[in-house]
């Protein structure tokens, strides 16, 4: 008989006996959490148990081969043997050294933490799981301990007394497990008195483990697809165009005439780039329909690109080099088409890459292009904040249109909605986009309610599925991480009757519907521009009876068209 693969083995219960209630409660195994001073900061690794529901599947070898990443092979997280190269330890330590030299911030973040604990209870995963290793300080300490051992004199000499520990296979597995229990949302960083960016520690940690081929498929697959076709889904140009055509059919039934956007059009003034999640996944698709209708109402001289067909960049979760490579298509396509600037859709980490890295990373790609400081062709507003990147966020663009009275709006079409706004982590914390989405929502909806102050704006809670963790197999992890956000939504639902959660991130739109379904099933998720398009009055449109989802508008329930 063939051997049963190890990953399928189920450990038998400790004993088949009836336990008393007290034993039942006491049986909770706290050993693996032990990280207290009483046993030294980091005597933890042997206790780590990787559990189903808490991790993503390993990357298929083809994904790594496609982008030339190391150690492509078939492996399973639940297997004891992760099929690492023999010299894995050398690779990690060499990679660690290299990054300490190249990235000043990494070196600084390794050194300056004083373990004050300000970040400890700010992580959504800690709040939702109560696992101490989800405290950002302890998660980072998993790395710092190894840093001390190999890169500081005190650690080399004093070892555990100086909080240092050897790098071994258990430590590596523990690293990996907790690296993928951080969404790089940076909420903890807001509270750090030293400004330590824990997300950057996670970024570096993932880079290091990727040197051994320890990628997860939920990240590696989009990276490989994006590298080949320009978007996460691996959709080819004709299929991308077909999908937009599909939206145009739906829009036609709503407004009574057909919109005709252009694709890959040279000479357009503006190139529009949005995450492919908006084009292929509900409810983001309704947001994409919203963009199309807005641009039609303005008569905007813009084009879609079937090559720069992805705003998201899972390279951010892989390595600096991959991030740069995947991002390069934006400026390359802008240059090829001869556009003046780029307008970007509702996305999360895309804006971290664009706002914080793109300018310095790839601006040379735009040399010799026609790109210039973005100016709204409708209002004449100069977007000085985007002078260096040449890329404007769509809620900045729309807020400016509304401010100048350029849109005809009927907010009563959204009267059946009571809306709250979830600040998506990256637009909020990585680019300070706090007011514009709210301004837009308040102008297109009559019922808007804020969640409690310590759950929004800079302090917003992550959806629980960012940074590539929005897989199906880690649902328990996602629900733990999404719990603090859901808790705040539940509060405004119970207090004000909120039934719609608006956001400006494609990952939010994929993650939050499920989180809501579990914790607050009465609340649905929407993009901001879906709300805009519902309220928008287009010239020559027929009387609207349904919203973008085909649901009757308020007062139109009995209309024949519904």
């Amino acid at each position: 008989m063939a051997d049963i693969p190890k990953s399928w083995k189920v450990a038998p219960p400790k004993a088949w006996k009836l336990t008393t209630p007290e034993e039942l409660v006491k049986d909770t195994d706290h050993r693996r959490y032990t990280l207290g001073l009483e046993k030294g900061w980091l005597r933890t690794a042997p206790d780590v148990e990787i559990k189903p529901g808490m991790h993503c599947h390993a990357a298929l070898p083809k994904r790594l081969e496609d982008v030339g990443m190391p150690n492509p092979r078939t492996w399973s997280v639940m297997d004891e043997d992760w099929k690492l190269p023999k010299n894995w330890k050398e690779i990690i330590l060499e990679g660690f050294k290299d990054r300490l030299e190249r990235f000043r911030s990494f070196k600084l973040f390794m050194d300056i933490c004083v373990r004050c604990g300000a970040c400890a209870d700010k992580c959504h995963y800690f709040i939702g799981s109560a696992d101490p290793k989800n405290m950002p300080v302890l998660r980072a300490e998993l790395f710092r301990s190894v840093y001390r051992k190999y890169f500081t004199t005190a650690g080399k000499v004093l070892g555990p007394i100086a909080g240092a520990r050897e790098l071994n296979i258990d430590v590596l597995k523990e690293w990996w497990y907790y690296l993928y229990q951080c969404t790089e949302c940076r909420r903890c960083s807001v509270f750090c008195p030293y400004g330590i960016d824990t997300a950057e520690i996670t970024l570096m940690g993932r880079e290091l483990t990727n040197l051994l081929g320890l990628n997860i498929d939920w990240i590696a697959a989009p990276v490989a697809f994006c590298n080949r076709t320009g978007n996460h889904m691996g959709i080819q140009p004709h299929a991308y165009k077909d999908m937009i055509e599909f939206f145009l059919d739906e829009i036609e039934t709503i407004i009574g005439y057909r919109i005709e956007p252009t694709f890959n059009r040279k000479g357009a003034e503006i190139l529009f780039i949005t995450p492919s999640g908006d084009v292929f996944g509900d409810p983001g698709t309704y947001t994409a329909m919203g963009y199309l209708m807005l641009f039609e109402a303005l008569g905007l001289d813009y084009t879609w690109s079937t090559y720069a067909s992805e705003g998201g960049n899972f390279g951010l979760f892989t390595s600096n080099e991959i991030m740069k490579k995947l991002n390069a298509k934006m400026y390359a396509e802008a240059k090829r088409l001869g556009v003046k600037w780029i307008l970007g859709g509702e996305c999360g980490h895309m804006w971290r890459v664009v706002n914080q890295y793109m300018g310095t990373m790839n601006l040379d790609m735009a040399e010799g292009s026609k790109m210039e400081e973005p100016v709204s062709p409708i209002t004449g507003t100069k977007f000085e904040n985007a002078r260096s990147t040449k890329m404007v966020h769509i809620t900045e663009f729309t807020a400016d249109l509304i401010k100048h009275g350029k849109l005809k709006l009927d907010p009563s079409r959204n009267d059946h909605l009571k809306v709250t706004y979830h600040d998506s982590c990256n637009p909020a914390r990585a680019m300070g986009l706090l007011e514009e989405p709210r301004y837009v929502i308040k102008n297109v909806c009559n019922n808007f309610y804020e969640m409690p102050p310590n759950t929004i704006r800079e302090q917003t809670f992550c959806c629980g599925g960012g940074s590539g963790l929005n897989a199906g197999e880690d649902m328990e992890l996602r629900m733990r991480g999404g719990m603090p956000r859901a808790n705040a939504v539940k509060y405004v639902h119970e207090k004000y009757g909120v039934n719609k959660l608006a956001c400006v991130c494609a990952i939010d739109r994929a993650v939050l519907p499920n989180t809501m379904e579990y914790f607050v099933p009465e609340v649905d998720v929407t993009g901001v521009h879906e709300l805009v398009a519902n309220a928008l009055i287009l010239e020559g449109e027929k009387e609207r009876t349904v919203d973008l989802r085909g649901e009757p508008l308020p007062g139109m329930e009995d209309s024949e068209d519904v």
Partner: protein, 190 residues
């Protein structure tokens, strides 16, 4: 004095100890946070436990309305169903109440002769445990349903585009009720 009065008299220490039973299922280093942070948005797990346990105890003493109790229990169990617990650990804290009551009212129970009442109250706790079990399984079922739905949602549009999605025509009637496809009617999406 009857058992209800005794329980009301000792409500505060009983509720506190019962909360401790729930908290003790969490890692030691996190218990302080769960206990001390009073803000319901900064510490939703801890606050839900404290508020839920007290409300459940109140309800057990009075009406024992299953619908009301289910709401409080749901808040606690919904999170525990996705946390680091086996099924029995997730719901086992309910039985802790029996022990807590006996510890707190050891002498009074004998003195006042309320053992029969206590037996009846124990039955309420047993019923509470069964309710808890129902809620837990519903939560787990929901997680599985969500996983399935997510797979469908992610591929639905692509399948439609590829002509691989099967959709019944709007005027389709179920076979057996004279509803086989009529002439000229084609399921061209399959």
């Amino acid at each position: 004095m009857d058992l209800k009065s005794l329980l009301l008299q000792k409500k505060s220490p009983i509720v506190k100890k019962w909360c401790d039973v729930v908290l003790s299922t969490y890692p030691q280093q996190s218990q302080k946070f769960l206990r001390k942070q009073k803000d319901q948005f900064a510490n939703p797990v801890g606050r839900t436990i404290f508020e839920g346990i007290e409300s459940i105890f109140d309800e057990l003493l009075h009406e024992a309305n299953a619908d009301k109790i289910a709401l409080f229990l749901d808040n606690i169990i919904r999170v525990r169903a996705v946390q680091e617990f086996s099924s029995s650990q997730a719901v086992g804290f309910i039985f802790g109440l029996k022990k807590v009551i006996r510890e707190e009212l050891e002498r009074e129970i004998l003195k006042e002769g309320v053992t029969e009442e206590l037996g009846a109250f124990d039955s309420r706790i047993d019923a509470l445990a069964l309710l808890c079990f129902d809620i837990y399984t519903q939560c787990r079922q929901k997680i599985f349903d969500i996983r399935v739905k997510e797979v469908k949602t992610r591929s639905e549009r692509l399948l439609q585009m590829a002509g691989l999605a099967y959709e019944l025509p709007e005027d389709y009637e179920h076979p057996g009720k004279g509803g086989d496809l009529k002439e000229g009617q084609v399921n061209n999406k399959c």
